[in-house]
Amino acid sequence: MTTAETTAGATLPAPAASEPSRWKKIKEGLSFFSRSKVALAGLILVGFWVLIALFADNCLITPRCYVGMVQGDDITQWATSEEYQSWLSRYSPVEQFRGRNREGPSADHWLGTDTRGRDIWARLAHGSRSILTLAPISVIVALIVGGTLGLAAGYFGGLIDEVMMRILDAIISFPQILLYLVIIAALGASATNVVLAITIAGAPGIARLVRGLALDIKTRDYIAAAQTRGESPWYIMFVEILPNARGPIIIDSMLRMGYAVFSIGTLGFLGLGLPPPSPDWGSIVQAGRSAIQAGRPWEALWGSIAIAMVVVGLNLIADGLAEESQRYR
């Protein structure tokens, strides 16, 4: 049977009855980076640190490393254990080289050494791990909290919207850094609390964005169609509205991820990040700060560059995504 609307000329090919394969989806995703130069630059910057984080040592293939991480052991226990092997980091992040403190870059120590004679490259390589896990986790948690609040506010409207948004406005009215300080100071410095602080500071912004999108999308006919099927509000919010808001949300989270890296760096710098001797990027900059005037800017410089690379990279990816999504609008 031919349809009433087959295309003129060549009829549309009848595709196979299966969903597009996973490989095809991955390929489509990759082709985005080849189309957008900006996003490709971003991917290279971020991808560099992702690779380093994955292959800094043999953690990836050693089960005990994971067990240690889950139990919350500090890096010393793992980095001094029998099984530890340096891969891309070249040295252990806690190994102190006697008599080689505060050296400049050399063939032995590519980026030099810090006050205690530890290899800066090794510390940066290991430090990328915490920052590259904490930043996405905190953004995802903020996304879940903020997204749900925003969807509910946008979809229900009225009093719910009014009350929720005023509370969130109140949170936004505090300077973010102040919020971080208050939360960390009250709860203590730990990975969980860093995530918590970033969630509380970030969720209101996400809620506002999602609310705006929900307000727009809920006027579409397919929402009315779902309502006339008697669907529950939660079904409509999460199944009908949320998937159509994903474009702006993804772009926004990329930017937020950059801010989160920045915030984690700031917290580390203020001494509110991960407790020492963790190779936290922020604390590396902080430790190196005092040496700048002594004519040894290496430690602070390398730490700052590492943070900047990830932040700029994530922002470039976000720019590329935004550009791409506008092209097809």
């Binding site: 009433a4 003129a8 169609a225 009908e240």
Partner: protein, 704 residues
């Protein structure tokens, strides 16, 4: 226009073999090819065709407004004897001067919302012509008077949002006419307007052409509109002009199979689905990226032969003033045309009057929206409560297995009425009785069986489907939700539904952005019918579709209705479509039903004066039909504060028939006049007098 006259006169604009291409990453896309025509002074050339046929591209090409990636690839445009192609923007400006003006579709976006109307209009004269402010003001007021703008002095001081859409379009036309242009290009100038306003704007266009002797290029997708204002018509298809002829010839003696097809798929005014059929053109307009090798229309043409597939067809004259792009135009006899088998609609059986039973009884239904008053007290909830009376005291009965059409201008409460019935809006007062159930409250308070019986088809094909899910996924959902079939049969049921709306199985995995507007609307219909409802409410289901697709969707709806015996409520602003599709029609004005009755009774006297004005405004795609000239003045009043008595009294053209110039209309609600056979008119004018009205138009004899 005869030949001698043509020779004396030089055309205002001549387009020769115009080709327009857009540069894309995948190479040039030739959106317009081999377009040739000329427009003389005082002549209106209509350009019709479905969307995506390059109508607007031609217009933009003429004013060199093609965007960064557009270019004129071929041919030439001569404006008053001088070529416009290949010149720099500065040269163009001096050549063209202010001699070409353009009017766009949406009046709201063509006016600057932060400037007063006067300032915007005067700018045209003061900036481009160096006219003094006082003189400019005078000329603007004079021009506003010429476009029949009431109270031009005061309008000059207003902002665009303070005047209605029709008035905005008048302001734009007045602005365009200020420089007395030699060529006026109008791109769908009435598409965004109501029929009554459209009629007035079309009258205006016609008057201006006569008065100023301007050449007008009038682009429209609506054959009726073109029939009313144009002298000659160019039919465009897939970027080519396929037929160019005087307007009467186009409608009486179309030579190109596409023109014939277009005319066949528009419902004739006064015809119903039981007495006539619509023949959609099969297939759809090819994308300019993927054109057929021979004749562009060949894949959809019923007369296609081998020769059509291999060669490009030239545009050739077949009679004086009548050119066509078809090899076999002379051999094709439209009268001998028979629809191909798959287009043959089923014969519809009418349900005899005595077997009709009510399924939905609406009794003085009211839907009010709360409106925050401007009083500062309302900020703290103490201000006077104001209500927008969107639906006010509406009563009617819908008969089982039949269609009730609802017509009226925008803002008269049609959509609110059906949204209230289906439960998307809360009932403020009155009663809705559906098969013995009392429908009240919103959807979430109703039980599943009631929800299942009431479904809706929406207007906008692009918003009717969730863009994130595949077709199959979206059709499965109502099946699961209403437990129509056991779980293991859901897939086969979806495929059955797809087939019922004439789509193939492979649409199952398609995403909405891979579908055309018509296909999306079909899926929307399939989704509404998935739960096998008893009552389907259609909110302008075809008004966003091209005519050929519209015909197919209308046929489909009536076929499905016939099969399931579904009752339908059908909203449309196109009176020909409503007449074609409905058994009963309700005419609404400002939240009230002013007339209701069997479809055939609505279109002939006696009728309510409002119905009469609506009918007089319908653009009829047949220039031979003479329509009575009744035009409504003013706008629909605000439903926030509707007029007292009869709500139509502020605009009623028949009020003077009553003693004391219709004093009674202002004070008393109109009584119900029963014309028999469930035909009710709410009017103060006695039935006998209503019967004496001249019919607005003679309905042509039945037959194809």
């Amino acid at each position: 226009m005869n030949r001698e006259l043509e020779k004396q006169q030089q055309p205002v604009v001549t387009v020769e073999d115009l080709g327009i291409a857009y540069e894309t990453r995948a190479g040039d896309i030739h959106a317009v090819r081999d377009v040739s025509f000329e427009i003389y002074r005082g002549e209106t050339l209509g350009i019709v065709g479905e969307s995506g046929c390059g109508k607007s591209t031609v217009a933009f090409g003429m004013v060199n407004y093609l965007g960064r990636n557009g270019k004129i690839a071929k041919g030439n445009i001569y404006f008053q004897g001088q070529s416009l192609v290949g010149r720099t923007p500065e040269e163009l400006r001096t050549l063209r001067g202010d001699q070409i003006a353009m009017v766009y579709q949406d009046p709201m976006t063509s006016l600057n919302p932060v400037l007063r109307i006067g300032a915007q209009m005067m700018e045209v004269l003061t900036v481009h012509r160096g006219v003094s402010k006082e003189e400019a003001r005078e000329r603007c007021i004079e021009m506003l008077g010429k476009v029949n703008m009431p109270d031009p002095d005061r309008v000059m001081e207003r902002y665009p949002h303070q005047i209605s859409g029709g008035q905005q379009q008048r302001v734009i036309i007045a602005t365009a006419m200020l420089n007395n242009p030699a060529l006026l290009i109008m791109d769908e100038p009435t598409t965004a307007l109501d029929v009554t306003v459209e009629a007035a704007v079309l009258d205006l266009v016609d008057n201006l052409r006569r008065e100023f002797d301007t050449a007008i290029m009038f682009i429209s997708h609506n054959l009726g509109v073109v029939a009313r204002v144009c002298d000659r018509v160019a039919v465009m298809y897939a970027g080519e002009v396929v037929e160019l002829a005087p307007v009467r010839d186009i409608f009486a003696n179309p030579q190109h199979p596409y023109t014939q097809g277009l005319i066949r798929c528009v419902p004739k005014i006064g015809r119903s689905k039981s007495s006539s059929v619509l023949y959609p053109i099969r297939g759809r307009v090819p994308s300019p990226k993927n054109l057929p090798p021979g004749c562009v229309f060949e894949p959809r043409c019923d007369y296609a032969r081998e020769a059509c597939r291999t060669q490009k067809i030239t545009f050739r004259p077949i009679e004086q003033n009548h050119s066509v792009r078809c090899l076999f135009a002379e051999e094709i006899d439209p009268a001998a045309w028979t629809p191909s088998e798959d287009l043959m609609p089923q014969t519809l059986q009418a349900i005899p009057a005595e077997e009709r039973e009510p399924i939905l009884q609406v009794d003085s239904l009211k839907t009010y929206y709360k409106h925050a008053s401007s009083s500062p007290l309302s900020l703290i909830g103490l201000g006077p409560k104001e209500y927008v009376k969107a639906v006010d005291d509406v009563s009617f009965t819908a008969m089982k297995s039949l269609t009730l059409g609802v017509v009226g201008e925008s803002g008269c409460g049609k959509s609110t009425l059906i949204k209230t019935i289906i439960g998307l809006e809360d009932v403020t007062g009155g009663k809705v009785d559906f098969m013995g159930f009392d429908l009240k409250g919103s959807v979430n308070t109703r039980d599943m069986s009631t929800i299942r019986e009431l479904q809706m088809v929406f207007q906008n094909p692009n918003a009717t489907m969730n863009p994130s899910y595949s077709v199959g996924n979206q059709l499965e959902r109502p099946l699961r939700r209403f437990k129509v079939v056991p779980k293991n049969q859901i897939r086969s049921e979806v495929i059955r539904l797809l087939r019922a709306v004439k789509l193939d199985e492979y649409y199952y995995n398609r995403l909405p952005n891979q579908l055309s507007g018509g296909e999306k609307q079909r899926i929307g219909i399939a989704r509404a019918f998935a739960g096998r409802p008893d009552l389907v409410l259609c909110d302008e289901p075809v008004s966003a579709l091209d005519v050929s697709v519209q015909a197919a969707v209308l046929n489909l709806l009536s076929e499905i209705q016939q099969e399931y015996g579904t009752t339908m409520m059908f909203i449309a602003h196109d009176l020909s479509v409503v007449r074609f599709f409905s058994d009963y029609i309700a005419v609404m004005y400002l939240g009230k039903i002013v007339e209701i009755g069997p479809a055939e009774a609505i279109y002939a006297p006696p009728y309510h004066p409002y119905t009469e004005s609506l009918l007089a405004a319908v653009p009829i795609p047949d220039p031979t039909i003479q329509q009575e000239h009744v035009r409504l003045s003013g706008n629909v009043p605000s439903p926030l504060n509707p007029p007292s008595g009869c709500r139509f009294h502020t605009r009623c053209p028949r009020r003077h028939l009553l003693p004391n110039d219709g004093k009674i209309c202002e004070t008393e609600e109109p009584p119900l006049r029963d014309a028999g056979d469930y035909h009710q008119i709410y009017c103060h004018i006695p039935l006998e007098q209503l019967r004496e009205f001249e019919p607005v138009f003679e309905v042509p004899a039945e037959g194809r």
